[in-house]
């Protein structure tokens, strides 16, 4: 009796709850797409046919120790046919599970896709090596080389993270890398000091970024256009100075002293991990530090909370007393400095002189890594590693002589990029206000 009384009052709980139920229902109504399960199934089948059924009956050998390690591990020997078949069956299992989840209207979890990619790459590797003329590669060398190739990508995508998280799209990563590489070369040559070169690279990257920040934030010019124009501008200016100044006097302007590889005693001799973590140049160590610092900064500090708020909902940040445009300006500048350091890797570590277009489009791959890594520094790091891996695999595999034409192998990094950006790993959602200038009021 008393319940009927209370339920007839205005503002009674029942209709209120009804409203909440309805809202909850619409929230859970996010459609679960067929894209991921279909992709996975297709790749599992490719793996079954090529890496499994059509694999050569040869043993592939993967070395995991290098000569300088303090203990030697035996190389892993896998029969290409058996290994490929087994992995393909696992892949099919994962794909089937994804389809099963889809029929139940459940999303495919992230770990499943990651596991799928890892297994697929392993299957691919076994197939490629197993079919080669000399079916043996050094796994340790492959991974260490991937990290090396990934260094500028990681810095580039960190720059992207820093910019996009405050709501500015940074297409100019390529220009920042190139500007950093050029400045590092010329300054290090003139001062004969690689550390000053490194510093100058950061300043150069920041300077490129400041132009981007000024035009996109203060003058509200379309960010994509400013970015593209900056890339062309930096390429033109460095190219011009290279052919007029550097070529004319190579000794004075284009022979920078390199940054040496610093081996940390003992630790660098640990098999596999040693060369990756403890046998790096200063720039390589800075990369690890930068990834961690940016991640901790973004997600654990006051600075990061404000940065993310500015990139997601600038007006909300403004009403809480945060200066949106200043935050954007300094973050974009910082991003440029980070990319500049990445650029110095080309001229101070990888090669000991500057050449035209030395960055070779890696700024754009870094952009892909940023999206693939879901605007997260750690995600971007691993995405960049994957691209570095594809890049390195391509050159190693060409050396050991595979049946696959080298042109196809050369496509690998870009194929991976396209698949990644197409959203294979779930739907990636960038900062909501990315690319949108903020005008008060």
């Amino acid at each position: 009796m008393s319940t009927t009384v209370s339920s007839s009052r205005p503002g009674n709980p029942q209709p209120g709850n009804a409203g909440k139920d309805a809202a909850a229902a619409t929230v859970s109504a996010k459609p679960v797409g067929w894209k991921t399960p279909v992709f996975l199934a297709a790749f599992a089948l490719i793996s079954l046919v090529f890496f499994g059924l059509l694999a050569p009956n040869q043993t592939a050998s993967f070395g995991i120790s290098t000569g300088s390690d303090f203990f030697q591990l035996p190389a892993i020997q896998v029969n290409a046919f058996a290994g490929g078949l087994m992995l393909s069956i696992l892949l099919l299992g994962l794909a089937a599970y994804a389809i099963y989840l889809k029929t139940r209207d459940k999303p495919v979890p992230g770990w499943l896709t990651v596991a799928f990619i890892v297994l697929f790459v392993v299957a691919f590797l076994i197939w490629v090596v197993g079919g080669a003329r000399t079916p043996s590669i050094s796994l340790a060398g492959l991974i260490a080389g991937s990290v090396t190739l990934a260094v500028p990508l990681v810095f580039g995508s960190l720059s992207g993270v820093l910019c996009e998280r405050v709501g500015v799209v940074n297409i100019a990563i390529e220009g920042q890398l190139l500007g950093g590489a050029f400045t590092a070369a010329i300054v290090a040559s003139m001062t004969q000091n690689p550390f000053i070169g490194l510093l100058a690279a950061a300043v150069a990257g920041a300077a490129v970024s400041m132009v981007l920040a000024l035009f996109s934030i203060k003058y509200l010019v379309n960010q994509i256009i400013v970015g593209v124009v900056l890339n062309v501008l930096v390429s033109g200016v460095t190219g011009f100075l290279f052919s007029t100044v550097m070529q004319a006097n190579k000794a004075q302007f284009n022979s920078p002293p390199g940054l040496d590889i610093i081996e940390i005693p003992v630790l660098s001799s640990i098999p596999v991990i040693g060369p990756i973590l403890f046998r790096q140049s200063l720039v390589g160590y800075l990369m690890y530090i930068a990834v961690l610092v940016v991640w901790v900064g973004l997600f654990k500090t006051r600075w990061g909370l404000r940065v993310r708020a500015v990139g997601e909902h600038p007006q909300a940040a403004d009403t809480l007393g945060i200066n949106v445009n200043a935050t954007r300006f300094w973050n974009v500048t910082l991003g440029g400095a980070v990319a500049g350091i990445g650029g110095s890797f080309f001229t101070l570590v990888a090669i000991d002189s500057f050449t035209k277009e030395i960055s070779g489009g890696r700024g754009f791959i870094a952009l892909a890594a940023l999206i693939f890594g879901r605007w997260n520094p750690i995600g971007a790091f691993f995405a960049a590693l994957l691209f570095g891996f594809a890049d390195n695999l391509q050159s190693i595999v060409t050396i050991i002589g595979t049946p696959v034409p080298s042109q196809f192998m050369a496509m690998l990094p870009y194929l991976v990029t396209v698949l990644a950006v197409a959203g294979l790993v779930g739907k990636s959602r960038g900062p909501a206000a990315s690319g949108i200038p903020y005008v008060k009021g």
Partner: protein, 531 residues
């Protein structure tokens, strides 16, 4: 330590170029009061509050806190002075948790700038418990219903020790039930010592909670009123002329039933039946109002009729012809007029001129077009007569539709849809976000269309509107039809139907309730003047 804060605005003037948004406005907010700023959309209420909150700098005038003049250079200063604001469009980051949103801008930190969200969680819990908010600090804001998001906004202000809380049109986004809950929260906050500046144009709510009412019209204070003043009195102060709040309409004279919906089911992409086996009909010369809490299938129902939904089963017959499976254009050509629920997204193209918006559905037909050529002169001519007929307040039909106020935008949409002979007229939320003066006008036009013999379907979440316009009322709950009842059905019965309880069952529950009412409950007395 309870600070009590007296807030005074003296001669506040704000100009945007030549536009005078606020003209020497004086308002005094006494401590511990609910002070209502009543005025139509575009009267300058929000501008005034943005000045007070430091978002705009006043062109003239001063703000006094406890008798001392202050100047706010930004919202940070205003918050420092004890002023908090809940904006009409929430200022919450959707992908942040409640705690992150609350902490933002005034983050408790440990050493080296590291966030201390535990401290924020504790404060949220404290406030949540005090006012019975039931807010989970770790929930993502985008997953929360609108009503709860609003509470997060209130918590945000309270965490910053706001002594004066500005609520800018807080009920615009709420269902009737959520509105009543909010009014209760406001009373609680007041008894806790917080003063509230309540900005609204909804008379029922204003009368229910205010201590003092300041009426603003065209940027000026036109007077103050007591909450005891009658709604007609308040409405005429607000609009500046006598308005009739009750619609004069002749009883419906329904003729033959020309619109029929049979077993209509709409399936959402996730497989949910968002409209579930609906059957109803509408006669010529009759208004059927579809009531229900937002999100119970109303949107999908109208979209299905118009041909915008993909997975639809059943049958929709207009004049004996099947509409289902036809393209939107074919449906419109069959004589269906449609006013969508969100005019700025689906009803208008903001960057197009008013004249162009007025012919969006007939741009390719005579007299506006011949072959591939259009006649801009005829488009403008048409605009001129429509603007006059529908009293759209604009200097020219060539202006962008986006520059109009909400009420005038709605008049443009309505003018477009009603300016051709119709066989069925559907209006979804016809007066949402529209000022009182325009509501009266729009309602009259809807009734006029009915009297011309068109079957009319109104979808509204505002119970007042439903009760005012309807000849019959259909109530939706979770995509199902709870029942169709005649006009004049009581508010309580409709409220229960909106919660999914069919009318047969509560004929006797309400009787029981009425019997109990005589002995209990003062809240029903307040409920009485809701009608």
């Amino acid at each position: 330590m309870v600070r009590v804060l007296k807030l005074e605005l003296r001669g506040i003037t704000k100009r945007f170029g030549t536009l005078l948004a606020n003209d020497h406005i004086d308002v005094v907010v006494e401590p511990g009061q609910i002070h209502c700023l009543l005025g139509e959309n575009g009267a300058g209420k929000s501008t005034l509050m943005n000045v007070l909150y430091g978002l705009y700098e006043p062109s003239e005038g001063e703000i006094l806190v406890d008798g001392k003049p202050v100047s706010f250079r930004g919202p940070g200063d205003a918050m420092e002075a004890g002023i908090g604001m809940v904006h009409q469009h929430f200022m919450l980051v959707p992908v942040f948790t409640v705690a992150e949103n609350v902490a933002l801008g005034a983050e408790p930190t440990k050493a080296a700038g590291f966030l201390n969200l535990d401290e924020t969680r504790r404060r949220i819990k404290e406030i949540s418990d005090q006012y019975g908010f039931d807010v989970d600090p770790d929930a993502l804001v985008e997953d929360l219903p609108v009503g709860v998001q609003q509470r997060v906004e209130i918590i945000k202000a309270l965490v910053r020790d706001a002594q004066v809380l500005i609520l800018d049109e807080p009920t615009a986004v709420l269902t009737p039930q959520e509105t009543d809950e909010l009014l209760d929260i406001m009373r609680q906050l007041k008894s806790g010592g917080t003063s509230i500046v309540f900005i609204s144009h909804k008379l029922r709510e204003v009368k229910a909670v205010s201590d003092t009412i300041t009426v603003i019209r065209r940027g000026k204070v036109v007077g103050t009123a007591e909450p005891a003043a009658s709604t007609t009195e308040l409405a005429s102060m607000m609009v500046g002329r006598a308005v009739s709040l009750t619609l004069d309409k002749a009883p419906a004279q329904p003729k033959e039933k020309t619109f029929e919906v049979r077993n209509l089911t709409v399936i959402a992409p996730n497989g949910q039946h968002v409209v579930d086996g609906l059957s109803f009909d509408i006669a010529r010369g009759e208004i059927l109002a579809v009531a229900g809490v937002q999100g119970n299938g109303q949107t999908e129902l109208t979209e299905a009729i118009l041909g915008l939904q993909e997975r639809v089963h059943g049958s929709i017959l207009l004049d004996g012809q099947e509409l289902l499976g036809r393209s939107v254009k074919e449906v419109l050509n069959a004589g269906v007029g449609f006013v969508p629920e969100d005019r700025s997204v689906d009803g208008l193209i903001g960057t197009f001129s008013i004249a162009e918006n007025l012919i969006l559905d007939r741009y390719d037909q005579a007299p506006f077009a011949r072959g591939i050529s259009m006649s801009p002169a005829r488009v403008l001519e048409n605009a001129k007569s429509r603007i006059e007929e529908f009293d759209v307040r604009t200097p020219s039909g060539a202006l962008a539709a986006g520059t109009l106020s909400g009420g005038n935008q709605q008049k443009v949409v309505m003018a477009r849809e009603l300016s051709r002979p119709l066989r069925l007229f559907i209006a979804s939320q016809p007066t949402r976000g529209v000022d009182v003066g325009s509501i009266e006008f729009l309602h009259k036009r809807i009734v006029a269309e009915r009297d011309q013999g068109t079957p009319v379907m109104i979808i509204s979440t505002e119970l007042d509107e439903v009760m005012e316009l309807a000849d019959r009322i259909a109530v939706l709950y979770k995509g199902k039809l709870v029942g169709v009842v005649p006009a004049g059905t009581s508010r309580d019965v409709l409220g229960l139907m909106m919660a999914g309880i069919p009318p047969e069952e509560h004929v006797h529950t309400t009787q029981a309730a009425e019997a109990a009412d005589t002995t209990t409950s003062t809240s029903d007395a307040e409920g009485g003047d809701h009608v």
